[in-house]
């Protein structure tokens, strides 16, 4: 069969990223401009600022990708772009860029769901096997999804309030850590112990998640200690929080493994870069003799390569979009 090359674009939040991906599993080239140093100054992503920066950066990223891969756009088979979920103003820039490329070179336009992109980031590391259980842990999502086959999603559980990455970011703020909170909490936690007693979330057998109680518990604890004039051991608190939050995710994953009896688990989303989570899930899947897929660290956070991987299956199904494609900020999995 002929090799399929897809140019992929991702701009759903604060990364302008473009990639050329071969057959949904091999990255020919990836160029990413991250705005983290800018948003860090404001303690989180400022949507209007992100939109402005995508507009400024879009050509530099494309130019960098084409120069370093020496790839001619005439030779791509399709152009794929994240259409949501994400920030409308940010998504817009990637979408318009993709439309112009699709139009000028007469190539099909493929709209990709950002979350499905995170799942398919795994295909860049090793072949996906089904049926599989996908655990999605990111700044916007915490989901357990049963996948019977490619692009067949059955949501088993999701968060009732905050996503796990969101909880990391909010706790990081309370601890006066810089944005992005997740990696900074992880750094602190490395030198900490689980000395703080914090509320255990949703101690039940459902496959849903809740992190707001844990987050509030930490906010209250910090306020209380300040009132009493006590010092907070940030390293210990970060460690206590991270362990409880991650252990909860792992506990729910185990419930799902027992219910679905799958022999494949894949992890997706920015929080899958967390070392404690990676270790805990590796331990759990070993115990059940399950084949674990976890993306390489550089494909855990937002990137266009995962969008190119996810777009491959839509290309095979000829699931194409028109030039009137619009951002879908609240797009769901199905």
């Amino acid at each position: 069969m002929k090799d399929i090359f897809i140019l992929a674009i991702e701009s759903s939040c604060d990364e302008t990223s473009m990639a050329i991906v071969k057959n949904g599993n091999e990255v020919i080239g990836l160029s990413t401009n991250t705005q983290i140093p800018i948003h860090e100054l404001y303690g989180g992503v400022v949507p209007e600022l992100a939109s402005r920066m995508h507009t400024e950066n879009v050509l530099y990223v494309l130019d960098d990708l084409l120069k370093k891969t020496n790839f001619k756009l005439e030779n791509i088979d399709a152009v794929a772009v994240t259409c949501g979920p994400g920030l409308t103003g940010s998504l817009l820039i990637g979408i318009e860029a993709a439309k112009v490329i699709s139009y000028l070179y007469n190539k099909p336009l493929i709209a990709v769901n950002h979350i499905i992109g995170h799942i398919y980031a795994n295909a860049l590391t090793k072949k996906l096997n089904f049926p599989a259980l996908a655990l999605i842990v990111s700044g916007g999502h915490t989901n357990l999804v049963y996948m019977k086959d490619n692009y067949k999603f059955e949501i088993l559980g999701g968060t009732l309030d905050d996503a796990i990455g969101e909880a990391f970011d909010k706790v990081a703020r309370v601890l006066d850590l810089k944005y992005p909170g997740g990696p900074n909490i992880e750094k602190l936690a490395k030198n900490g112990k689980t000395t703080y007693k914090l509320p255990i979330p949703m101690n039940n057998q459902s496959m849903d998640f809740s992190f707001s109680g844990l987050k509030s518990g930490i906010i209250n604890l910090v306020h209380n200690e300040i009132q009493r004039g006590n010092e907070i051991n940030k390293e210990d608190l970060a460690c206590s929080f991270q362990n409880i939050a991650v252990d909860e995710v792992v506990r729910k994953l185990e419930i799902a493994i027992n219910k679905t009896k799958v022999s494949n688990v894949i992890v997706a989303g920015g929080v899958s870069a967390n070392t404690y989570l990676r270790d805990k899930i590796t331990e759990l899947t070993k115990k059940y003799n399950i084949n674990l897929g976890i993306p390489d660290l550089n494909y855990c956070t937002d990137n266009a390569a995962m969008i190119g991987a996810a777009a491959y299956y839509l290309y095979l199904k000829k699931d194409f979009s028109d030039l009137n494609l619009q951002p879908q900020p609240n797009k769901s999995l199905n």
Partner: protein, 186 residues
């Protein structure tokens, strides 16, 4: 004689305006009024106007784009499309501000032109269709008497007075926001 095809993109406000020129003469235009989703309509209009004039996209020689100020999202859509077209077709890109357009389309030479925006207006002083000083934003519900708001669109005038257009590089063309972002550093 070599034919020059120029595509003009103006999405700085609620109307999406696309026009096509052969040399400096207006060949065709499409104006879609009161568009809420600029992203949905702009590329299809560009496709339509080139197609119905049998203008091959590879035959375009020049892009002109309005860089605002105006609607943030609207301008971003037009500017992003213009940047990509100019870069990928390797053709020059020219910019014009929304206020210069207002002055250009006017049959008279007023001293100050304004563009109305949700909570105020963008304004600039002019002499012979050229901005003197800088564009400013004023938060107001009343339009001062001395400021002229021009609602006419006369696309045929765009390329006649070529010196108003500013030649740029596709990498450097960006929307003109004027309004400062209202955020505080931590």
């Amino acid at each position: 004689m070599i034919m020059m095809f120029t595509l003009f993109i103006d999405t700085h406000f609620k109307d999406v305006i696309i026009s096509l020129y052969k040399n400096e003469n207006l060949l065709d235009f499409i104006i879609e009024k009161n568009v809420n989703t600029t992203s949905q309509v702009t590329m299809p209009i560009i496709e339509k106007i080139l197609e119905r004039n049998n203008c091959n996209k590879k035959d375009l020689n020049r892009i002109v784009v309005c860089i605002g100020p105006g609607s943030f999202t609207g301008v971003r859509v037009g500017v992003t499309i213009a940047k990509l077209l100019s870069y990928l077709l390797n053709i020059p890109i020219y910019t014009i501000t929304s206020l210069e357009l207002a002055a250009l389309y006017d049959n008279y030479n007023h001293e100050e032109y304004g563009i109305i925006e949700n909570n105020g207006l963008f304004k600039a002083k002019f002499k012979n269709k050229k901005i003197i000083g800088s564009i400013q934003y004023e938060k107001t519900q009343n339009i001062p008497e001395n400021i002229f708001i021009n609602s006419n669109i006369v696309l045929s005038k765009l390329l006649v007075n070529f010196s108003i257009l500013k030649k740029s590089s596709s990498f450097l063309v960006n929307p003109l926001y004027i309004k400062e972002l209202n955020i505080n550093k931590k």
